[in-house]
Amino acid sequence: MSYHEKRSIVSIISTLLIYAVYFMFVFQRYQQGSAHSKNVFSFWGSVILILIPVAIAAKIIIHIVSVIIYKITTAEDAPCFSDERDKLIELKATRNSQYVFCFGFLLAMGSQVLHMPPSAMFIILIFSLLVSDIFGEISQLFYYRKGI
């Protein structure tokens, strides 16, 4: 298994972990009543705004740790640049990820058309973020394994 394939697998696992841990805290706050009545929009707005830097910081730390572990276990340096194939795979994976997020966005808007509570829309949006992120990584893994 190449470095990029391993990186994709680590990224999928870390994304799932980050979202799981973060949403345990969010769920606790939700149950305490932070998302009820008038402040529902400010609650979900802060959830999304905090999620973005938390996820970026956690991913950077996990990436650094995984590069160190890769170096120790394989005695091989991780590639320090992306060539044309890497860039093409990244582009295609990003495109696939965007398709998934667009679908989720439409679902979120649909929830409002069907008069569901605003929390449902935000939950669908955040879930779309998670699924699109994972789908992008799975796409990368697929293209690296099967060819492009």
């Binding site: 470095y3 990029h4 590639p79 044309e84 099967k146 060819g147 492009i148």
Partner: protein
């Protein structure tokens, strides 16, 4: 994903050029070893620029490194 119609003789050319390694070819063409491996295995069709660069390393015309085969081999 379309089937790769471009075949190559990179492995043979590496062998005839002092058994050049994939890593050495990758360094000379400015790509990663994984990309050279993917091209050799027919999992990736290189850009025109990279194809010319590989041919240049072997000091061979492009058509002696790569060849195009249509689905029915009629072209």
């Amino acid at each position: 994903m379309g089937k790769c119609h471009i075949r190559n003789h990179i492995r043979k050319l590496r062998f005839t050029h002092d058994e050049m390694t994939q890593q050495q070819l990758a360094e000379k063409t400015g790509v990663t070893r994984q990309t050279i491996m993917a091209i050799e295995n027919g999992k990736y069709s290189p850009s025109l620029e990279l194809a010319f660069s590989i041919a240049r390393v072997f000091t061979t015309p492009l058509e002696e490194v790569f060849s195009y085969h249509a689905e029915d081999d009629s072209i």
